[in-house]
């Protein structure tokens, strides 16, 4: 039914351009009780590290107008647990698997990429943009020289095509994207969250135990769209756009800005059916506008 929606990222063809934003969808198990995971172009899983990480103190989430702050801190059960439990689960479905990997040190990033080298997954997404870990994460993603070095090192250990996920907290996103590509990135995804804060005026304390967290949701979409547009015009590798997408109209904006695929994140919390509704909406838009392939509109904005 969805012919014309296929999209190819670094040689991997997704049946439609909709995936999930890492950290908002687990490994799909919980949402699979509500939606048909076979519908998704890909599932991008919660960040996986070499060993289990405990995550940050609670409270870890706070609502803001039109947005969400989180400081989960990449809590996960580690690569071994993921490989044994989550890959077999995901492989039951007709969808691509994108594994988001994270680390505190360059050695940890390389080690986790190596652990997945012989695994049955489709793409790796390198998280050098998480604002909620003290070492690694964002600190690796804001200096073009470090980006190029980290990507190059991980590229050496990774067997799957490598997506590099960028932080918006830089003055020139194209410089970082170019550095990632020269380091060996096969694709770019952006944006990760922006750092934000919320204060409870009655308790006179920050709502998040970590004080500062990553801001996501519809409020960040114009920033995300602008950055996706800029990156699409500055590198030749495929770009996966994300940041506040909650409707099919939002998704189409990213595609028109040049994105090969889009990821739905915070919207899943507000509407568990967001991903499938977006896929259906894109399909309806294509039919109504007599578009036979998304290529006809992709990157139509100069």
């Amino acid at each position: 039914m969805n012919s014309g929606m296929e999209t190819t990222i670094a040689g991997v063809t997704l049946k439609n351009p909709v995936t999930t934003a890492s950290g908002t969808f687990g490994s799909g198990r919980e949402y699979g009780e509500l939606i048909d995971l076979n519908r998704l172009g890909a599932i991008t899983v919660k960040g996986v590290s070499e060993e289990a990480w405990k995550g940050n103190p609670v409270p870890r989430v706070a609502e803001t107008q039109d947005g969400l702050l989180n400081s989960i801190g990449l809590q996960n059960a580690g690569a071994k647990h993921f490989i044994e439990n989550d890959i077999p689960f995901l492989r039951q479905y007709d969808t691509k698997i994108i594994v988001n990997i994270c680390g505190h040190t360059l050695a940890q990033y390389c080690s986790v990429a190596e652990k997945f080298a012989d695994c049955d997954i489709d793409l790796l997404e390198l998280n050098i943009s998480c604002p909620n870990v003290e070492e690694g994460g964002l600190s690796f993603g804001t200096d073009p020289h470090i980006v190029e070095r980290v990507v190059g090192a991980v590229r050496h250990y990774a067997k799957q095509p490598l997506i590099v996920k960028l932080s918006p907290e830089v003055s020139d996103i194209t410089e970082i994207a170019k550095a990632a590509v020269s380091g060996g990135a096969d694709a770019i995804s952006l944006i990760n969250t922006l750092r934000g804060m919320k204060i409870d005026i009655h308790k006179r304390k920050p709502v998040l135990a970590n004080k500062i967290g990553g801001y996501s949701g519809p409020g960040i979409m114009p920033v995300a769209l602008r950055m996706v547009y800029e990156v699409c015009h500055s590198v030749d590798v495929p770009v996966i756009g994300m940041g506040g997408i909650s409707t099919y109209e939002d998704a189409l904006e990213f595609i028109m800005a040049g994105a090969k695929a889009v990821a739905v994140g915070t919207a899943n919390f507000h509407n568990p059916y967001a991903t499938v509704e977006i896929i259906d909406g894109i399909w309806r838009y294509m039919k109504e506008n007599k578009i036979s392939s998304l290529e006809e509109i992709r990157g139509c904005i100069d």
Binding site: G26, A52, G67, F269, H270
Partner: protein, 255 residues
């Protein structure tokens, strides 16, 4: 099985100042819901992105009832909804209480807005149950517990109703014996009641609360520190999926 639906409000009333009771027609949810489980309610204003987790205070054949306090923007919006309005909800969520066999004597301890989920629990537990409820002032829902024909003891911090003090003071005063304790309320209360239960070697189930995003276990927002017997260290479990009911002995009460 988890259901996401538009539910019609069949009853909605303010039972005491700022505290509301809402009955929702949701037969799919009602059919499988257990005491201690909760539902996610989505604020009508979509600029409020997160659903509010609220535990079920009553479960009937075709409807579920919640009791909530106006605490912020979301609950304020809920309170403005009228009978016959519809609201997006998801549930039933979480594990719920594990019910002991009928012969076991149970103590049910509730504090403030932790009291509502204990009503359906007390109903299922039946006659061999002592209920201890602690309030700031007005003992909302106390009548509902009395109507179950079980022993109900009340404390209020204002001193206007029942014992002058907290529900923990009630517990110390009565010192009831039992085979199982159930508790829901503020964290410090749960900590104290767990300490009391440990001292008396009575197993305790506590229903916990934490800021939540997805409500179904995917985002890991709502962590609670749990150390299982035999495990070398604690880890964060999910209030929404692994809880909200945990063994009080396994909660790491360090905060």
């Amino acid at each position: 099985m988890n259901t996401y639906c538009l539910a019609t409000i069949v009853n909605h009333e303010e039972i005491t100042s700022g505290i509301w009771k809402m009955e929702l027609a949701a037969s799919e949810i009602a059919r499988t819901a257990e005491p201690g489980q909760f539902i996610q309610l989505y604020p009508p204003d979509k600029r409020n992105l997160l659903a509010r987790p609220i535990s079920l205070s009553a479960i009937s054949e075709k409807s579920v009832t919640i009791v909530y306090r106006i605490a912020g923007k979301g609950t304020k919006q809920f309170s403005q909804l009228q009978k016959n309005d519809r609201i997006r909800i998801m549930g039933p969520l979480g594990n719920g209480f594990a019910l002991p066999d009928q012969a076991t004597k149970s103590i049910v301890v509730g504090g403030g807005l932790g009291i509502p989920p204990l009503l359906e629990l007390s109903k299922r537990l039946g006659g061999n149950t002592e209920v201890l409820l602690g309030y700031q002032d007005i003992p909302f829902m106390a009548e509902d517990f009395h109507r179950l024909g079980i022993n109900v003891h009340i404390a209020s911090q204002s001193g206007n109703y029942g014992l002058h003090g907290t529900v923990c003071d009630l517990l110390e005063k009565f010192n009831p014996s039992a085979g199982q304790v159930f508790a829901c309320g503020p964290r410090q209360m749960l900590k104290s009641v767990s300490a009391w239960a440990k001292e008396h070697s009575i197993p305790i189930q506590v229903s916990m609360e934490e800021r939540m995003a997805c409500g179904i276990g995917a985002c890991l927002g709502c962590g609670v520190k749990i150390q299982k017997p035999g495990e070398p260290d604690w880890k964060y479990l999910r209030v929404c999926k692994d809880g909200p009911v945990f063994s009080g002995e396994e909660v790491v009460w360090d905060e």
